[in-house]
């Protein structure tokens, strides 16, 4: 584990897909930008190197490369009184367009409707590493607050000098500065009088404390919700351009295939543009139907070596530890105390292996991009969590400078960590260059299932040692492949050995909502339950006995109260819990299941989660994220698994790959702990991690059957 792990932003080794990202970056031309903005107050936030290092994931930069001071946010108070905020973060359904607007509205005392966020446009917004790791709320939210607070200072200063008033007596409300003494009141635009004023935020910018929040801290519906219920919003796959063609790429039969022969004769007669460039074969046509037909008319042969299937997966992961991955080095190994001795002297020693399968993100909007060339300048609209990363990939693919590439990210149909890469952007741009027309590429569901990347599969071996009185004395954990996020126990354990083993994954793998924390919490919280039963202690009492962290104790206690922990059970009923600490948030989830012993059917009846992420910015948005995490988490917990064999995905359709639906959803109750004394942190990922172990522990409670593999019951309990 990295020494930075407790600072909240470690380099997470499971983000394999990020490693290929181009490291180049060029500065924004600030002068052009100020010209573009025109008059008004412009506030610039200069990011401190230490924050930049966290935001970019620290270790990713090559050693020796110094971090320049950089600008991370802009805000513009326009002549019309409207405020435009520029951030490189993107909206993917987590509703930061709303929560960031609330933060700005709060500091500027402005109705939220007067705020517009420009997000994820590499030409207009400052550089941002990407929208992942639940970093928006802990980093961008305070930055925008500071920027807005600085604008507030400018406006107060203008009013004070224009009115010859005492600055301290001026008040801001509803987009106006008011002097209660002289009864003067002016809107922000009127105070500006057409001037352009530039201000840089100071280090000690005064912010409105959470206890005084009026706009932040209250439920706020999606700011542009009307565009979504009317179908007006244009997602990446809805983008159009005059003269646009539809692009389609020829896919090999298997992964890791090489093209050996190609016959495009028939397709050439169809009036389409055909591109053959190495292993890349694609067409651009006037309609998507014609593009499909042309691809179907192409004859191609591919060759590839034999590849493994998911039946052999877990043996393979243990065996195929990649070369040069010394577990004792490179930050992947944590050791404290003497774990071998502690395990030998423990009253009870328990060894168990937990596994998780590859799963797919299945964002309802598949990858999509529209690419347009103007000479050697490229503009791409695409759905990605990393517009600047995709800009780098495009620059590298086409050997053009990054400042010749503009990537725009219209609010997209979700990602869940699955859209960090720019496949469709590159494909559309390659076809557009050949066709000399704009080209849009939208992946089919099957392409998304096959040619995107997966949440890593993994094998986790845990050995725990415990005293008869319920004190955990030793913990040894080896994780093969699934990743190190959330691998360290938060229980007080004096002797630990924690090792993450990197493996050459047979499938392309990458980020996923909550990353490996789901797997590591499943293993840990299941094992904790097993240890509690070994010493015949109540699982909640056992946890609290070994847990000092007050914030975690608080969520376990709150969820237990709401759930009614300790109540009597009926036949088939089972109760269980799981929880933990991830991405700076704290979660405890309790589950009630009902198992029909005759049929083996497992029904999740009720789920109660208590969550704490510091001062709550948008309670309604937060509830939505927690409910959504529990619903999405049901899939990976109960039935989702990618099946593959010899380089092919066997269940790459929604008719074959089961995701949670209306009927799968239990009663979900959410308890929010609002800590106004603690800075706000993100909530898109952490709430997911408690569910799988809570269900597994509840199934054990109901049946005495201990399930140690995710998904738990893809075919009911009898088959498990």
């Amino acid at each position: 584990m990295s020494a930075k792990s407790n600072s909240g932003a470690p380099f997470e080794p499971e983000r394999y897909e990020l490693r290929a990202a181009a490291p180049y970056r060029f500065d924004l031309d600030r002068r052009d930008f100020f010209k573009f903005l025109g008059a008004g107050v412009i506030v610039v936030s200069v990011l401190k190197p230490v924050i930049a290092a966290q935001e970019s994931g620290g270790g990713r930069r090559r050693s020796g490369e110094s971090l320049p001071e950089e600008i991370d946010a802009w805000l513009h108070v326009g002549n019309n009184g409207r405020v435009t905020v520029y951030t490189g973060k993107v909206e993917v359904g987590q509703n930061i367009r709303t929560s960031l607007s609330q933060a700005v509205a709060e500091e500027l005392q402005l109705p939220i409707e007067k705020i517009e966020l420009v997000m994820g446009d590499t030409q207009l917004t400052p550089f941002d590493m990407g929208t992942f790791g639940s970093r928006t709320t802990p980093t961008m939210n305070p930055q925008l607050r500071k920027v807005a607070a600085a604008a507030r200072e400018v406006l107060l200063g203008l009013a004070a000098s224009q009115w010859q008033s005492e600055r301290q007596q001026l008040r801001l409300a509803d987009g106006k500065v008011t002097d209660p003494k002289s009864n003067r009141s002016e809107g922000y635009a009127a105070l500006l009088k057409g001037q352009q004023i530039t201000k840089t935020i100071s280090a000690d910018q005064t912010l409105i404390p959470a206890t005084n929040w009026q706009i932040a801290g209250r439920p706020q519906r999606k700011v542009d919700g009307v565009d979504f219920v009317t179908g007006r919003h244009r997602y990446p796959s809805d983008q159009k351009s005059p003269e646009m063609l539809y692009g389609k790429v020829l896919r090999p039969d298997t992964f890791n295939a090489t093209l050996t022969s190609l016959d495009t004769q028939k397709a050439e007669q169809m009036g389409v543009t055909i591109v053959h460039d190495g292993n890349f074969v694609g067409v651009a046509a006037k309609t998507s139907q014609l593009a499909d037909d042309a691809i179907a008319a192409i004859r191609a042969e591919w060759k590839s070596d034999p590849q493994i299937s998911n039946k052999e997966l877990f043996d393979y992961l243990r065996k195929d530890v990649g070369p040069g991955k010394d577990p004792s080095g490179d930050g992947d190994h944590f050791e404290t105390g003497n774990v071998d001795q502690a395990l030998t002297s423990a009253d009870h020693k328990l060894q168990a292996t937990y596994t998780v399968q590859y799963i797919a993100h299945v964002p309802l909007e598949p990858r999509a991009a529209l690419a347009k060339w103007d000479g050697d300048r490229l503009t791409v609209w695409t759905g990605t969590q990393r517009p600047f990363g995709v800009r780098g990939q495009l620059a590298e693919a086409f050997r053009i400078p990054e400042d010749h590439v503009r990537v725009l990210m219209p609010d997209m149909g979700s990602g869940y960590g699955g859209k960090h890469t720019g496949e469709t952007a590159i494909e559309a741009a390659r076809l557009a260059r050949a066709a000399k027309r704009p080209v849009k590429v939208v992946w089919t569901r099957e392409e998304e299932f096959t040619w995107a990347y997966f949440r890593p599969a993994g094998v986790i071996d845990v050995t725990g040692g415990v005293r008869n009185d319920g004190t955990i004395t030793a913990w040894e954990c080896h994780n093969y492949n699934s990743g190190s996020a959330g691998i360290r126990p938060y229980y007080e354990i004096p002797n630990q050995r924690i090792v993450f083993h990197e493996v050459n994954s047979p499938l392309r793998q990458g980020s996923y909502r909550a990353l490996a924390a789901t797997a590591n919490h499943f293993a840990r919280e299941s094992h904790i339950d097993e240890l509690a039963h070994a010493v015949k202690m109540d699982p909640l009492e056992f946890r609290l006995k070994n847990l000092k962290n007050e914030r975690l104790r608080a969520v376990f206690e709150a969820a237990a109260r709401q759930f009614g922990w300790g109540k009597a059970k009926t036949t088939g009923q089972g109760f269980g819990m799981g929880g933990g600490y991830e991405k700076l948030g704290n979660i405890a989830t309790f589950a009630e299941v009902n198992v029909d012993k005759q049929s083996g059917d497992v029904k999740i009846v009720r789920v109660v989660s208590a969550f704490e992420c510091g001062a709550i910015v948008n309670p309604d948005g937060l509830r939505n994220q927690i409910e959504g995490s529990n619903v999405q988490g049901l899939g990976g917990a109960l039935f989702e698994a990618i099946e593959f064999e010899n380089g092919r995905i066997l269940n790459g359709h929604l008719s074959q790959y089961r995701v949670p639906r209306f009927r799968d959803v239990p009663v979900i109750e959410t308890v929010l702990l609002d800590r106004k004394d603690i800075p706000s942190v993100g909530a898109g990922e952490c709430p997911l991690i408690g569910l799988a172990p809570a269900i597994a522990n509840a199934i054990f409670d109901a049946t005495g059957v201990r399930l140690r593999a995710l998904p738990l019951v893809p075919n009911g309990l009898k088959a498990a």
Binding site: V92, N95, T230, G231, S288, E627, G628, P660
Partner: protein, 163 residues
């Protein structure tokens, strides 16, 4: 290729295409009605749902040649000017979306359900909507939105203001 005459959102259209082309493709590519979404292409997710003669149908598996002359309603045709349909308003009021990509299909399915059954039970809502996927997991909110819309429509029709 053939000339297909369509009535979409009470407007006539004439489209030159293969009658086998999906209605979804025609709506999105030919008519620029992009509110109906592609999610799976096999009728499994409901993101493409439209009303055909008032009935919720998956436009991705509906051949355009089969709906000539029938009344097609898409999400773009649901509101009357700035006046949102009760179901649209209910989705806003319940915050029943995250990324919103499934929302138009959810709303069209819900409208189809309420036309058939103006006061559905919770179980009837869940059974009817089970073919629509929300990957963000807002199902409980969607159920509440449909219940709210049913109530609003009920009170509106009691006042004789239903449409």
């Amino acid at each position: 290729m053939a000339t297909i005459r369509l009535s979409v959102n009470e407007k006539p259209h004439s489209v030159e295409t293969d009658p086998q082309t999906s209605l979804l493709t025609v709506l999105r590519e030919y008519l620029d009605l992009t509110g109906s979404k592609y999610g799976c292409g096999e009728g499994q997710c409901g993101a493409c749902t439209v009303l055909i003669d008032g009935k919720a149908q998956r436009s991705c598996i509906t051949r355009v040649g089969s709906v000539s002359g029938r009344q097609i309603t898409t999400i773009e045709g649901l509101a009357h000017g700035d006046q949102l349909h009760a179901v649209q308003q209910a989705f806003l009021d319940e915050g029943a979306m995250q990324c919103g990509y499934c929302t138009s299909g959810m709303i069209m399915s819900a409208v189809g359900l309420l036309r058939r059954n103006p006061a559905p039970s919770e179980k009837q809502i869940i059974d009817f909507m089970d073919g629509n996927i929300c990957r963000c997991g807002t199902y409980p909110r969607i159920v509440r939105a449909i219940q709210r819309a049913a109530k609003t429509s009920e009170s509106a029709s009691a006042k004789g203001a239903s449409r």
